[in-house]
Assembly symmetry: C2
Homo-oligomer: 338 residues x 2
């Protein structure tokens, strides 16, 4: 089969890779109905997080179980399943408290931009949908594999409650789905920090009530103006830079919550500033597995439609163009159909 392989900065090739096979009895092989490009794929794509050798790419997936190892009991061939970018046993103490992305036996799934992939720890990782979904539901289900699960975790980590004022820093796919999550959780006011017309439009569709185009300290000042000088109850940090993190902390009210899910690149938090900020901080890699049953239910019942975040759909063999479009910000997020 052929799949995506990153050779170096902006050198993404679609080339022959080995067919995945069952290696351990706990493995499953999944035939992707769809896969996609993640904002976090752009870090290595841009060379900011260099790859040492040609590296298969992709960690978002959903599709039909093709085969399972002898120890797998919870999913079977023919079922439609979704899994997380971190495979988990769903049994260890970290999993038990809902942090499957910190599973003591976690394994990174990173070969998903291909027609087929091997998923380790299948019983603890994959969740089947009630039936095989219609084709138009597949994009929304695919988002649950990472980007929607991550936006949802950001809103949870930021303690979004009904009536809250919420700020979302970052108008990428995760930020946009963070807005959808906050809206679903009953936030009264959702302020999107965004300076891109197309993203602002989607932000409003997902529930944003206000748009702030300023960034950094100016952005913080604007949030303060909009909140009687107090700051927001909940701020979702969905970027991962020093500027975005400080913007999030400074936009939060005393006693408020910052939920951070942008993978940090070069972020250092000054202890003294944090001390006097008086905010709650929580975040990290989203425990997608924890949220999958609830989110599958919401998509299945048509209550949320996170698949709208895909504004470009390409056949899988054009994956390189999918990366380029996101790198050049021509696309928010690229869906790939094998």
């Amino acid at each position: 089969m052929r799949g995506a392989v990153l050779y170096g900065p902006r050198d993404l090739r679609f080339e022959v890779r080995d067919m995945p096979t069952i290696i351990k009895p706990t493995d499953a092989i999944v035939r992707n109905s769809a896969t996609c490009v993640c904002g976090s794929d752009l870090w290595p794509y841009r060379g900011i997080q260099p790859v040492a050798q040609p590296t298969p790419m992709g960690h978002e997936y959903c599709g039909i179980v093709e085969d399972v190892g002898s120890a797998v009991t919870s999913v079977k061939p023919g079922q439609f399943v979704i899994g997380s970018f971190f495979a988990s046993d769903n049994k260890c103490p970290n999993c038990h408290v809902g942090y499957q992305s910190s599973c003591q036996n976690r394994e990174l799934v990173n070969t998903a931009q291909a027609p087929l992939l091997r998923v380790p720890l299948a019983d603890g990782t994959l969740v089947a949908t009630p039936n095989v979904p219609s084709d138009d539901m597949v994009p929304s289900l695919l988002t649950l594999s990472d980007v929607m699960g991550t936006g949802w975790f950001a809103a949870h980590a930021a303690n979004v409650k009904p009536g809250n004022t919420v700020v979302v820093v970052g108008d990428g796919a995760v930020g946009l789905l963070g807005m959808l999550s906050a809206s679903q959780m009953g936030a009264e006011r959702i302020i999107a920090m965004s300076r891109h017309d197309s993203r602002q439009k989607l932000a409003r569709e997902f529930g944003a009530t206000d748009i702030v185009t300023e960034r950094g300290d100016e952005g913080v000042d604007r949030i303060k103006e909009l909140t009687n000088g107090v700051g927001a109850d909940s701020v979702l940090e969905c970027v991962g830079t020093q500027e975005s993190m400080m913007q999030a902390i400074r936009a939060t009210r005393k006693g408020g919550h910052v939920g951070y899910v942008g993978v940090p690149h070069g972020v250092e938090l000054n202890g003294e500033e944090l001390f006097f900020a008086h905010v709650h901080l929580h975040g990290g890699p989203a425990p997608v597995r924890h949220f999958l049953p609830e989110l599958i239910d919401l998509v299945w019942k048509g209550k949320i439609n996170p698949g709208k975040v895909f504004d470009l759909t390409l056949p899988l063999d054009q994956v390189a163009e999918g990366y380029r479009a996101m790198d050049e910000r021509r696309a928010i997020k690229t869906l790939l159909r094998p």
Copy 2:
């Protein structure tokens, strides 16, 4: 009158200072029944946080109201009162959500090591006890002004719940009272990180069930051993150094909570480590005012006796010896009687 004045590193003098007077109609004058030396006073005393000029010292106080300004309505002369090191209006949006130490109009109280002091914003700062207390209750009531309120906030910020496993980093007065707080909140297991015999003894009196003498990564390893490799549910950081902060974060289980109240000195948190730590962080200057009614009630009813933390009592005019004893770790905390 005479009070404590810091001239430079380890140069603390007891000398003539102006008598405090009502400056604003919202002020009160309090005649101290007792005051004390705080662990945080040692930062400037040791020159780590240098003073630019001779500086009056002290921010812990309780005693009899001597006089009030014309706008003060909630306390009156003759009442016994306790207040926080941050005076607050108890009306602004930050106060309303329980963060009086971030009051929009806060003023630092920093002249308390004296027979009398001026307390600004008296209505929002001072809380009266039901009656004038007996003399033996005064030390416990005095701790509510900062050190007990701070330990209590640390336990709150670390989300201590009945049945929790709690670690306390720091065996100073705040750490010890953090143990008392965790015990009062129903923690099942309280692990004190301490290497001083006298402090270990008090730790056990305050509810510690285990003592860990190792520090840094070794200390973290020991906590992991004691918690089946998982880490603690709640960790109270009561020091404020880089080492203690990282020790706290690393000793916490995935999804657990770090409550930090040690004023940070040179602390920088790496974003990536924090991200993958998957902990909750909260802390800052304790909103003592918020907790005063509850804590006064606990002391008044004899349910807690935080005054045990004072292991040295001196007349106020020996305040310099009080500092020396704490600096040289001969005393945990010095009570001063005017």
